[in-house]
Symmetry: C2
Subunit: 518 residues, 2 copies
């Protein structure tokens, strides 16, 4: 299993088909293949050895796709960098994995000097962009032009393919090591689940440095699809691109879906080409799902749940389960069942499997489990026990194997001795027509230990009071689960992966207090 395999197949089968579309530039599979083999030769000419890490700090582009493929082709290991990180965080990752190669685009050129001063091993910096490289940086395009195509290094199987730093809500980030086999099996598994199909045009609007989009990219490689990129998620440019390029498949997070669906200009664009919307990072609120299904009339919505350490998919909630079959059983609120390439269980703190319905930790086993954390054997041994990756997510499983992720174990609210799963409260809040988004966190309470606190983004042109929302909740869920207080905000703070940063929402309340679970 080698991640260049389906590039070989696409060059063989559809050399003249458009492989990438970025800002009006189209390249065929034959062209991409040529550029990848030449850039790989350039990397080797610059001293790249098999297994060397190559970091990339850039917005989405067709170059990002070539970066992945050329790194594999050259025999290197990708290390895509979160574009929202501070210089300190980036330096930590580069130093931790000993990266000697960095590729930067025009957006991030300004941090190169500082990174160089903080990363002693960083030797080669390559500029990617349409113009000439600034300073003494190497030019991607010159490397492509000056080097004859290299042979594919053909690393595969258990060979290291990528190091992805997990955002690590506590402590330093950890580098999850994924093999060619890990990522390849996830891609074929996604195709086997019907998430991507031959002939699809896929849109990369979620960040390409994130494994979620990387997995979508590899799944699209497996079906020989066309890749369209936008530099970053921006609702209008995404809507325009969908209509213009007749996009058939997208990977988004619910926040992005909400921004598209509720955008005032949405109705101006033809979205009927979209056939598959994959979302992850968090479940989708039911009201939003209804609006999204109306906005994308031809689309099936499918949820993938997992984590970087699982390459990344563990469970899939298929499009069918978002429709009648799922709704009549309530399983449309779940995160789906074990994907064809994964096993999933719920275990207690002693790793014993729990009866169905009981909340415990979600664990997963199979060929998608990472090799381990880079240079962290203890953290690896703690995370992977007896072959099972421990996700740190709390959840339960129903009789038919559907997994309901309750919360990050640390996001669970313990109030007056009762466990409250924020998701349940958020779903209740989101069912109110005036609520666009809700996030529920624990805040300190002298009386209850922790209290339920809600952050709410109001729907466009809607008005609602905290009291009205609390009353709404009391109608639907147990009293101890209802928010004791509500803050209205304009937008949720989001991680690079599009997840709501609950830690950031929660932090101001906890100054001077200690949370046991954090």
């Amino acid at each position: 299993m080698y991640l260049t395999q389906n590039l070989h197949n696409s060059i063989q089968q559809t050399p003249d088909k458009v492989a990438t579309v970025f800002q009006g530039r189209q390249r065929t599979f034959a062209e991409i293949g040529e550029r990848v083999a030449r850039f790989a030769a350039g990397l080797r000419a610059l001293g790249l050895q098999a297994g060397d890490r190559i970091s990339m700090l850039a917005l989405n582009s067709d170059w990002y796709l070539e970066y992945y493929l050329a790194t594999y082709w050259a025999g290197g290991v990708v290390n895509p960098i979160n574009t929202r990180w501070s210089v300190e965080e980036i330096s930590y990752a580069l130093n931790d994995c000993g990266s000697r190669f960095l590729i930067v685009d025009d957006t991030f050129i300004g941090v190169v000097d500082e990174l160089r001063s903080q990363c002693p091993e960083l030797g080669t910096v390559i500029h990617v962009g349409d113009g000439p490289p600034p300073g003494d940086l190497y030019s991607w395009e010159t490397l492509v032009a000056d080097n004859p195509p290299a042979e594919d290094a053909l690393r595969g199987g258990d060979d290291l393919a990528g190091i992805y730093y997990t955002s690590g809500t506590t402590g330093k980030p950890k580098g999850a090591m994924l093999s060619h086999g890990n990522i390849f099996i996830n891609a074929v598994g996604m195709a086997a689940e019907g998430l991507v199909r031959r002939g699809y045009v896929g849109l990369h609007s979620a960040p390409m440095f994130h494994l979620a989009d990387g997995a979508f990219m590899n799944a699209m490689f497996s079906v020989g699809g066309c890749h369209v990129m936008v530099p970053a998620f921006e609702p209008v440019s995404v809507l325009q691109t969908i209509a213009q390029e007749r996009v058939s498949a997208m990977l988004l997070v619910p926040t992005m879906i909400q921004m598209l669906v509720d955008h005032p200009e949405r109705g101006n664009y033809d979205l009927s080409s979209v056939h598959s919307v994959m979302y992850g990072a968090s479940p989708i609120a039911e009201g939003l799902l209804d609006r999204a299904m109306a906005a994308f009339p031809s689309a099936g919505f499918a949820q993938a749940y997992g984590m970087t350490e699982l390459s990344p998919v563990a469970t899939v909630l298929t499009a069918e389960m978002h429709r009648e079959e799922g709704r009549k059983t309530g399983r449309h609120r779940s995160n789906g069942r074990a994907m064809v390439t994964a096993e999933v269980r719920i275990v207690d703190e002693h790793d014993n499997e729990l009866p169905r319905g009981q909340v415990g930790e979600i664990v997963s086993r199979g060929p998608h489990v990472m090799l381990g954390y880079w240079n962290k054997p203890e953290a690896t041994a703690e995370a992977i026990r007896d072959g099972w990756m421990h996700t740190g997510d709390g959840g339960w499983m129903d009789e038919a194997g559907f997994v309901f992720v309750a919360d990050r174990i640390k996001d669970m609210i313990i109030t007056g001795g009762e466990n409250v799963y924020s998701l349940e409260v958020e779903n209740c809040l989101a069912s109110h027509p005036a609520v666009a988004q809700a996030a529920v966190v624990a805040i300190p309470s002298e009386q209850w230990g922790e209290a339920v606190h809600a952050f709410v983004v109001r729907a466009r042109d809607a008005s609602v009071s905290a009291e009205e929302l609390m009353a709404h909740c009391k109608q639907h869920i147990a009293g101890y689960k209802c928010p004791r207080s509500v803050d209205f905000i304009d937008a949720m703070p989001l991680s690079g992966a599009g997840k709501v940063l609950k830690r950031q929402l929660r932090a101001p309340f906890w100054v001077g207090h200690t949370r046991n679970v954090e």
Copy 2:
């Protein structure tokens, strides 16, 4: 990647769903899981060690499916035996792979004594059937009843999963060693190509000892489908079973398709449930394809080409390519393109890739390539060179990567210095309305070195002369390709895998002659 993974998932997700149907007996996934774990415990109690081979000599049944899963669960290696083999051939295989365990059903109980006398290492013989075991044989059902469920041994990845003896048209059979990873990736690849889907009911009418049906079985495991077995292919029982069990997917060889489609009682059965017909071993004649598409009105036909050493699929010709898209380009006559999990090339005798359109040897690379031949490092090194499995099949590739298998290299006819591919002549013969099946072979010719000779099975109630068929060919193909002589026969001699045994057809003509390519 472990071949028990999807059994675990099906037990978790659909414990009460019917997993197997055989002669009126139904078992759920929970029941199969229990029986598999108990039989695995029984095998261990009888001394099975990890990696030990377990041979099975039996007709199709639900036990055959349990045999595969229980062997993996126990940590063993399957060695399914071709039921058409002589005692001598079976003994050769058992001795070659040092099998100490044999499972036999009532049909083959008569050869046990002879096998025992010829196979000194064979210690444990287990009888499978509804009645009590004869003589001193162990009883499968007693082992299931008497042993508590074992833990899954969880062998996987590169661990040996099965030894399949290839029929070996010349020389002794060779044991192709397939790993868990080989077979698993092929199964997921088949699902990714859309050959099987969730909810399918699969019919095992091709022999379950053959890897073609084994691959279909594993693909059906990956989508959690139901398995229906008939003891052996018999047209009426297959037609009955399709109608009664509402079969949705089948794996057949064209000969079997022909026997179903042209059967006088076919019209008495409702075949509308069939959604996917996979066929392999040989391409399908166009006239037969037309009749088959009419007989199975809801079915997509898909061809898989490969060989045991490729686990077994290398290329897939999708259902779409059997319809307008394929027919207008002539690609419905091809064997398809590289499957998502495989690469395929055409090379010359020095392993250089040939330009499109030129005939050479078909080779394939990827995670589906076998580990090697059991105890035959030289044959392995000859077959797998630089990662590419050399199929021994001649063929060419068109501009879009579609592979056209011309012939086994040894089946190619060289007449007057011209290469004649028997398939082309067979297709021409089969287009005549009076021809049900045709096989074309080389026979010795003083004048031409070899001459083209045809064996023809006439269509039911049809009459046609050799002269008429030769005249028909002259209208459609070059004169040197046309048969010089025709033999009419009642049925083609078939291998256990359902391939026409050309060697057997050819042999009488070559007594006293030597064929260079054989």
